[in-house]
């Protein structure tokens, strides 16, 4: 019996260490990880410099980890170990409430929030004086679930107070009461476009076009599924995916979109749904400049939206009301050079940022 046990111990150990190394050699290396939305590392080049500096060893370990056989399965095992076996409340700061996935954003970085507010003021002073300028702050979905379920959360009241105390010359639209947890994707950080009716009502009222506001029922819904949001891969748990719904309207049918000054893009880039980030369907994802011109708009007014990724999904809902909607993402382009691409005149301007970006405000250039 003892002898058999010893043989079994040696056999399983050998099977594991030799089996996995052989599998690693046999299985071809992938270039991307869909679950983590990133490029995987390549086999590091062996140079005298890299070897003698010790960098090669570090890079090789990273390469092995990136291409480890059954990598996603092992990540799931780790997640189950944390959540189920060790009863831990988060795994890599990702936590689950019901079937929703959340990522901890904590603590409040007051200096970064103030920096963001001051950046808005600087842009106003440089480009927007005399124009109709509005701002709103999108609560991230932790606002609705983190503290309520015992997780560390931002001091949201303080964040909103800091913004209101520091942002000047802009009219504030409070949209906190327009949203609930179900208005966000379960597996992603973002809000659902089809759930933004109340948000549009508040923004339309603040910006003065509520008399034109179309019923959300007048928009046609198009569903793409399964949508595995940004947190899905991070959670590494076998959870239900979302559906991604985007809205079209007859008043948007002839709209033309240009991205980074290049024309010919659709508002909804459905071909990107199967890519690294399904949310890139909305206005082709992260872009510093997007312009949507709409000959069928209900007014000939123009709108500039300073935005983060949440803006990609709400911007199409402004298209029926504005002849031109320009989206600017100053995370990717310096605000000091905006006048090279935008002619500031008498447009309406909306600063629309999520608490996630404001709490890391120094990403705004």
């Amino acid at each position: 019996m003892e002898k058999m046990k010893n043989w079994a111990t040696i056999a399983v150990f050998a099977l594991l260490i030799f089996g996995l190394v052989i599998a690693h050699v046999i299985i071809p290396d992938a270039t991307h990880s869909l679950s983590e939305r990133r490029e995987l590392s390549k086999f590091p080049a062996i140079t005298a410099d890299s070897v003698f500096s010790g960098d090669w060893g570090t890079d090789f370990e990273e390469y092995l980890l990136d291409h480890f056989p059954g990598r996603d399965g092992f990540r799931t095992v780790k997640a189950i170990l944390r959540y189920k076996l060790l009863a831990q409340k988060d795994n890599n700061k990702v936590f689950l409430v019901g079937d929703g996935i959340f990522k901890m954003e904590y603590p409040l970085n007051e200096n970064q929030v103030v920096y963001a507010a001051q950046k808005f003021n600087w842009i106003y002073e440089k480009y927007l004086q005399g124009m109709r300028v509005f701002y709103s702050v999108i609560p991230d979905k932790n606002y609705f679930a983190a503290a309520q379920n015992g997780y560390p959360a931002l001091d949201y009241d303080r964040l909103y107070q800091l913004m209101n105390d520091n942002v000047q010359n802009m009219t504030y639209a409070d949209i906190r009461d327009c949203l609930t947890l179900s208005d966000f994707y379960r597996t992603d950080t973002h809000w659902r476009q089809e759930c933004l009716g109340k948000v549009m009502e508040v923004l339309a009222k603040t910006m003065g076009f509520s008399d034109l506001l179309l019923s959300m029922d007048s928009f046609e819904q198009h569903k793409l599924s399964p949508f595995k949001g940004v947190y899905y891969g991070q959670a590494a748990m076998p959870l239900k995916a979302d559906d991604l719904v985007y809205l079209t309207h007859s008043l948007m049918a002839n709209a033309q979109t240009s991205v980074q000054m290049q024309e010919g893009f659709p508002i909804y880039a459905t071909d990107k749904f199967e890519g690294m980030d399904g949310y890139d369907v909305f206005l082709s994802g992260a872009q510093s400049f997007v312009e949507i011109t709409n000959p069928d708009a209900l007014t000939d007014k123009e709108l500039i939206i300073f935005r983060d990724s949440f803006g990609s999904s709400i911007a199409p809902l402004f298209v029926p009301y504005y002849a031109k909607v320009t989206l600017v993402d100053i995370r990717y382009t310096p605000s000091s050079m905006l006048d090279k691409n935008i002619e500031f005149a008498d447009q309406d301007v909306l600063f629309l940022y999520s608490t996630l970006v404001l709490n890391n405000g120094m990403v705004l250039k």
């Binding site: 010790g54 060893g57 990598r71 170990l81 060790l86 603590p107």
Partner: protein, 467 residues
Amino acid sequence: MLFSSVTFLYVFLPVVLVAYLLVPKKAKNHVLLAASLFFYFFGEPVYVSLLIISSLSDFFHSLAIEKCRGTKKAKWLLISSLCVNLAMLGFFKYIDFFIVTFNGLTGLAIPTLNVPLPIGISFFTFQTMSYTIDVYRGNVRAQKNLATMGTFVSLFPQLVAGPIVRYSDIAEELEHREHHLQNVADGIRRFVYGLGKKVLIANAMGELCALFRSSPDQSVLFYWLYAIAFTLQIYFDFSGYSDMAIGLGKMFGFNFPENFDHPYTSRSVTEFWRRWHMTMGGWFRDYVYIPLDGNRCSKWKWLRNILVVWMVTGFWHGAAWNFVLWGLMFGILLLVEKLWLGKWLEKAGNVLPRIYLMFTVIISFVVFNASSLPGVWQDLKGMFGGLNIPLVSAEAVYQLKNFALPIMLAVLGSTFLPNRLVDKIRTVKAGNAIVTVLEPVSIVVLMVLVTACLVDGSFNPFLYFRF
């Protein structure tokens, strides 16, 4: 290279095992030597030269000492050998500490050299010094084969973080060792359990410590949570490494000395140091304390000897004053126990002495892990309400809940309870059969869990590499 890395587990170890199995008996040391040098080179490509210099120095010094045995020349050769090792250790580990201290005393501003600390230098210099001293004392014969000597010094299982294996511990096995099924299986079990201790428990505790350090939401509760977590982390980290080293040694036919024996179950500081880092304690006893005359001298000299040994022990752990303070703290506590407290502790039952010991140990590791002497003061003030921070903070409560089960498992795992439970089950025939079947299963489960944690990129550095 870390034992808890996929490079080691799934590339280095399989390759070395195959090579070791394939070559004839007389070439096995050569395989181990080549593998060990590569192992060290992988992490310290430049400093591998120090390892080689240390090996060559002690090899030739010891041969010469043996030739001149009984003459004054032998003593000078020993001093010369010790100087080489201590000079390496002094320069690479302590030079910046000496410069900063000298600057502080004189008001000068001599620039520091920022010499990176070679991994494991404290361990391999101590091993080689003990070898030469033992040759000088006539306790062992000088090794005449350079490859065998090199294998002893560089043997990768214990090269970078102990146990501190003396030449006499494995002299016989370096020349003639047997490879038994039982030994290999025991080695695998010991290695995998050690790996589990390190990756599953120590890293989790390390994560909690890192969360504490980066949190702006400090409280007295959070300071204590950190202190307990670090106390558990350092035990599971270091004893896990020792288990892995001992296990690997067994796989290759060596029997390394034990290094830990459930130190947190001790009932006094004296007992604690008989159970914690035993090979280091033994080293300082045999090569510092006894040469200073140990306790076979006047009382005052004996007190001096204890304080000197513990100050040096602290200093061995790190080139900073908080390590010296840590060592002195234990020296003083040992004296207090030997002179007064020890007798009371023996009669005080099981609970109070253990509370005293754990309180002492937790405080000591807070001193140990502080960034500096002001850092020690800051952390101790935080633990005892001297920082004007709340007793409880939201994040401390969250992390307490988050790590409650891992902490409980770690506390239980640091006691005799798991071993006793298994032994108890084994006394029943059916229980014995179940344990026998479950042992290989536990290897698979632990390896999968450890690999999962590594692949997920968890917190990973070994604490004792910096010493």
